[in-house]
């Protein structure tokens, strides 16, 4: 039974080790630079949300608006997601 214990915990250690290696080895700088370059170029850092036509795309600026079915308008997802 001790063998089973060592096998299970060696497996867990291996998983933790692999995650640590991936975490340390990931190149964060180039990803951050790309984002910063676009933000610097456009002076906009708004998330590229894949939204329907009546949902706001640029946060804190646009507001949800459905002129066709105002009474049928779904609960605004962005209102859920972001604290106003």
């Amino acid at each position: 039974m001790a063998k089973a214990f060592y096998t299970v915990f060696s497996f867990l250690f291996l998983i933790t080790f692999s995650v640590s290696i991936h975490y340390v080895a990931t190149d964060r700088v180039s990803a951050t630079n790309s984002l910063s370059a676009v933000a610097g170029l456009t002076r906009m850092g708004s998330l590229s949300l894949s939204v329907a036509y009546y949902e706001p795309r640029v946060q804190r600026i646009e507001k949800a608006n459905n002129i066709i079915y105002p009474e049928m308008m779904s609960i605004d997802r962005m209102d859920f997601v972001y604290e106003n």
């Binding site: 995650v19 991936h22 975490y23 370059a37 610097g40 998330l47 590229s48 795309r57 600026i61 972001y82």
Partner: protein, 392 residues
């Protein structure tokens, strides 16, 4: 440890009852995986957005009408430049362009490429870009989502925009923005500012809003007051507002995530109840037997503590590791749509691995302490009773 009878007995009990433990580990693993995935995605997005904060303007000045944002006059720029302490006043021109009415849309952003910051950022983004060649004709830089969408609709080299005046405007696709910037640029089309005005149907004396910087942080409040006093229909957004919004992004205050956390907590309470009642029913005899054989209360509690700790550690490590793999290696398919939406262009973002050890340790403690308590409390209650009664 290998020769310890206690350890041997613990292992014997644990692996003999493995079917029972696997069930608990599996349910805990699913909960921890879901919770871990949601927290990993949100912390990664928050981290990436915070990195872009340095490039964002200190203030954004907008014109509002009936609560809606409308285009601001360029004359405001001159008024703003007169305020002491303000630097880098940049007009922003942007808006959504619908590929088909009410279907897919792109975000058109007009950029003044002669502006120092824009020029520097452009060169940082793609060294080989020849700015002169780019400015020579009507060219655009597009995000990966736009590029894919145009290609699938047979526009591999450019697109002919229909302006609000009914005029067709052909724009060449000059370059696709790097995939690593998809988080903010997936549906973006960057064009020279004049071209953006033409496509969006804006007048030469109009801008979407005005961005400006105030280098001295101490003057921010003062400058915000001064700007607000200029016009009655002015709205000022500060970088602090944006920072606050990023901090609160996808946290427990958001409705969807509040629901997620509530579901997780309710499921977890059910697991705890199951453990609690299991100890009372099926393990009652076992604990009584151990006590009758001369085990002290302390030994019984120690045995149950280590047994539960093993379950907790296995479930936690596997749950968190699977969440990490799912989010940062596989890119969180399906779940990322909850965060970024899926109604417009598909967005395959690269999520930068971010491990918030504060959150991880909180999850562990929130999971481990009630779980261990749900086993140890009934165990102690049974262990302190007479073994004869316990075995009945």
């Amino acid at each position: 440890m290998r020769t310890s009878p206690f350890f041997h007995f613990l292992m014997l009990g644990f692996f003999k009852e493995r079917k029972k433990h696997i069930g608990v580990i599996a349910i805990s693993l699913v909960i921890l995986f879901l919770l871990g995935s949601a927290l990993f995605i949100s912390s990664s997005i928050r981290y990436s957005l915070n990195q872009t904060l340095a490039w964002e303007p200190d203030f954004v000045v907008q014109r509002t009408q009936g609560g809606q944002k409308v285009n601001a006059p360029t004359a405001w720029i001159d008024d703003l430049l007169e305020v002491h302490g303000i630097s880098k006043v940049t007009p922003r021109v942007y808006g959504r362009y619908f590929f088909k009415a009410k279907e897919n849309s792109f975000l058109i952003v007009g950029v003044d490429f002669m502006d120092e910051q824009s020029n520097k950022a452009l060169r940082m983004m793609m060294d080989e870009t020849d700015l002169k060649q780019f400015l020579k004709g009507d060219n655009m830089l597009v995000g990966e989502g736009v590029s894919t969408h145009l290609k699938t609709h047979f526009y591999p080299n450019g697109y002919t925009f229909l302006t609000p005046k009914g005029v067709f405007k052909k724009v060449n696709l000059f370059k696709v923005l790097p995939k690593k910037s998809n988080l903010i640029s997936n549906d973006m089309i960057i064009v020279p500012i004049e071209l953006a005005r033409e496509i969006l149907g804006m007048g030469e004396d109009e801008v979407s809003d005005i961005a400006l910087n105030v280098p001295n942080d101490d003057e921010w409040d003062n400058v915000a007051d001064k700007i607000s006093a200029f016009y009655y229909d002015i709205h000022v957004t500060t970088k602090e507002d944006i920072k606050k919004a990023y901090e609160n992004l996808y946290n427990y205050k958001g409705g969807v995530f509040l629901i997620l956390f509530l579901i997780v907590i309710v499921t977890f309470v059910l697991i705890l109840y199951q453990r609690y009642s299991m100890v009372y029913s099926s393990e009652r005899r076992h604990i009584g037997l151990l006590r009758a054989l001369g085990w002290s209360i302390r030994d019984v509690l120690k045995l149950k503590f280590f047994e539960t700790m093993m379950i907790v550690v296995i479930a936690f490590v596997l749950g968190v590791a699977l969440a990490y793999l799912y989010v940062f290696v596989l890119g969180a398919p399906l779940l990322r749509e909850i965060f970024l939406g899926g109604a417009n262009l598909p967005n395959s973002v690269i999520l930068v691995p971010v491990l918030d050890f504060g959150i991880l340790s909180s999850i562990f403690l929130i999971y481990a302490i009630p779980f261990i308590s749900a086993v140890l409390i009934p165990t102690w209650k049974i262990a302190v009773t007479d073994p004869k009664e316990a075995m009945l």
